[in-house]
């Protein structure tokens, strides 16, 4: 055990002496959290809109003004030609086209219902979906208001006058920062730790120092623990730093127990650490290690549920996410930080992560060889 202590001591000595890596380890999480949390935002403002109002009545104007009053839409042009409207979608000038047919007001008052046409530019599906949602909201709002202002209509209520109201639980104001920060934190910590571990070990190989260690009585498990412990401690430190920024800058709710958060981080970190280890066993140079680590981490980040919900992925992708440690982390952080889940609620995530960590490290130890054939 004393040998491990010497190895850890040596590792920290080297880490604190590295004038490039140390600041990077501190600056990278802070910078990424600030940047990504503000930039990665699902809210879409100023959707470019064109309105074709062929009715030019009081009702149609009221509808138009509802759209122009919304912060989500910006009315660029009006006109009377549907063809022109379609063309401006084709030229990517507008995101949404609203067409109000002639006799809109007359139909509304006389028959109790009337139609409008919304055409969405779905080149960016997310944007189109959001535009549709916002527009639907405005139309519902218009309906309700119009009915209340025209008593004629209340006498003949339109079909299905069920009003849907909703509230967003766990994130009542649909604050995307709240949603993104815990995920980004997990992504950053995983990235840093996986890279650091892989590169550090390959560096020993590149510099030849691993050979010098190999002719000493240091045992395999001592060497691995000597690498494991320092990076594990660093990961907990970065986590603390990230949570502090999350709380101070973004005011993310910390509903769950902090002990649980750190307990989970402590159990989660061996997953990415072990992965870094495993990669280093198959890389001869830091360059190889870098690209291999990047290959895995990039897939993990894209599929971790941070940018697209896991539930909307095809089934095979959802199944494959069993192997994605970051997916567990993102899910766990959201549940505990935003929902205030307790251990009973998240043990379905906790135990797999524990098994994952043990598994990947066992594999790393097994593939690490001191004596080469």
């Amino acid at each position: 055990m004393r040998t491990v202590l010497y190895l850890v001591q040596k590792e920290f000595l080297q880490i604190f002496r590295n004038k490039t890596m140390l600041p990077l380890m501190l600056v990278m999480p802070i910078f990424q959290m600030l940047l990504l949390s503000f930039a990665a935002n699902y809210e879409v403002k100023d959707l470019k809109m064109r309105i074709i109002d062929l009715d030019l009545s009081g009702a149609s104007r009221a509808l138009c003004s509802k759209f122009s009053a919304s912060p989500n839409f910006k009315i660029l042009a009006s006109g009377f030609s549907a063809a022109e409207g379609m063309e401006s979608i084709a030229r990517d000038e507008i995101d949404i086209l609203l067409q109000i047919p002639p006799h809109f007001e007359r139909d509304l008052l006389r028959e109790g219902h009337a139609g409008v046409a919304l055409t969405l530019n779905a080149i960016n599906a997310t944007k189109a979906g959001l535009a549709n949602g916002y527009a639907g909201g405005i139309l519902r709002d218009f309906n309700a208001q119009y009915v209340s202002e025209n008593p004629v209509l209340t006498a003949t209520p339109p079909n299905g006058l069920i009003e849907v109201t909703y509230s967003n639980w766990y994130n009542p104001r649909l604050d995307y920062k709240t949603f993104m920060v815990p995920g980004i934190l997990g992504e950053i910590v995983s990235l840093i730790i996986c890279f650091l571990t892989a590169l550090n070990i390959v560096r020993e190989r590149e510099m030849g120092t691993i050979e010098q260690l190999n002719v000493t009585p240091i045992r395999k498990w001592q060497f691995i623990l000597g690498k494991f412990i320092p990076f594990w401690i660093i990961s907990l430190f970065i986590m603390t730093l990230g949570l502090t920024i999350g709380k101070l800058v973004f005011d993310i709710p910390l509903l769950g127990s902090l002990w649980l958060v750190f307990g989970f981080t402590a159990a989660f970190m061996p997953c990415v650490l072990g992965l870094g280890f495993l990669i280093s066993n198959f890389a001869e140079t830091q360059q190889q290690a870098m690209f291999t680590a990047w290959f895995f981490i990039l897939i993990f980040i894209l599929m971790c549920g941070l940018f697209t919900p896991i539930e909307s992925m095809p089934e095979w992708a959802q199944k494959a996410d069993v192997l994605n440690p970051i997916a567990y982390f993102v899910q766990f952080m959201r549940m505990v930080l935003l929902k205030g889940a307790n251990f009973q609620d998240v043990k379905g995530i906790f135990y797999p992560v524990l098994v994952y960590g043990i598994g990947v490290n066992a594999l790393a130890i097994w593939t690490y060889r001191k004596q080469v054939a």
């Binding site: 004393r2 040998t3 080297q14 030849g208 120092t209 050979e211 002719v215 004596q371």
Partner: protein, 304 residues
């Protein structure tokens, strides 16, 4: 007692046979030199003895322990200094030494007597990072780190490479002093002149031993007359001498050409001078000389 016993060791890398059924042994307390050009298989052999790689065939024992089966034990009693500087460049002299002492479960103070001669030269720079040291200093530090746990057998892979002649001489003086502590030393080098500094040498070429003896015996085994020759045009001289009747071999040797004759000839110097004159050479010099280890090495590679 034999400290190192190598039995028919073979190691191949693909089609390339780095070591070909190599057999030799090193006596306890001996300073043994493994001499051979680059690619002779020196490093492969040292890495096998250092328990870093496994031979394809054959076996090797150090202090009666097998290098494959007993590697865990051997790692406690071996000191290995790789050809390439392999200490932590970002740690200081002191930190490197303390680290390697601690992983062997000892301390600098415990074995200070072993490294004292070398370490006094490093001590003024002990806070300096290993990466910032000169080649000679790096080598001295590496030797200290390989010695700090008082190894019974020391394996040094080309310690003279990349080091200036003065430092190299100092280094060999240190090795001589280490012998007094009863440490068996196996040192590999491509420099034939360093062979003279060893108790016994093995000449390694293409994975095989060409000769295995004391430097003096190897020199004395040279049975053909040898002359050192020079003239104004050295390049043409070597070509001409090779074509001389009765010449066995000729090659450049420092500022002279070494000419070996097939058989002794009476008044050989005169014969050589006359031959060279007929080839329009000027400012010639011919002198009989004694063969060195390098001559023996070249002769044995020619015989093959």
């Amino acid at each position: 007692m034999q400290a190192i016993e190598v039995q028919q060791i073979t190691k191949s890398y693909g089609d390339l046979k780095a070591l070909d059924e190599l057999t030799f042994s090193v006596a306890s307390g001996e300073l043994f030199g493994l001499i051979g050009p680059d690619g002779a298989g020196k490093t492969s052999l040292l890495r096998i003895l250092a328990t870093l790689i496994v031979p394809d065939k054959g076996s090797a024992r150090i202090q009666q322990h097998d290098v494959v089966g007993d590697y865990k034990y051997l790692r406690n009693i071996l000191g290995y200094m790789p050809g390439r500087f392999s200490l932590y460049q970002d740690l200081s002299i002191e930190e490197n030494l303390a680290f390697f002492a601690s992983v062997f479960g000892t301390s600098i103070a415990d074995n200070y007597h072993l490294i004292q001669d070398i370490y006094v030269q490093l001590e003024p720079f002990r806070k300096r990072r290993a990466g910032a040291l000169s080649g000679g200093m790096k080598q001295k530090l590496a030797l200290c780190c390989a010695l700090i746990h008082k190894p019974e057998v020391l394996l040094l892979d080309e310690p003279g490479t990349g080091v200036d002649p003065v430092s190299r001489k100092e280094f060999w003086d240190m090795l001589k002093r280490l012998k007094e502590w009863g440490i068996t030393i196996l040192v590999s080098t491509p420099n034939m002149d360093e062979a003279e500094l060893c108790d016994r040498v093995g000449l390694l070429h293409k994975g095989k031993l060409l000769a295995l003896d004391t430097p003096a015996n190897i020199r004395n085994s040279y049975d053909k007359p040898l002359y050192e020759v020079r003239s104004q045009d050295m390049y043409r001289l070597i070509g001409d001498l090779r074509q001389m009747p009765g010449a066995y071999s000729c090659y450049a040797f420092g500022e002279y050409a070494h000419l070996t004759l097939l058989h002794p000839i009476d008044g050989a110097e005169i014969t050589i001078l006359q031959y060279l004159e007929s080839r329009q050479h000027r400012d010639m010099e011919v002198r009989a000389t004694r063969a060195g280890v390098e001559d023996c090495f070249i002769a044995s590679t020619l015989d093959q």
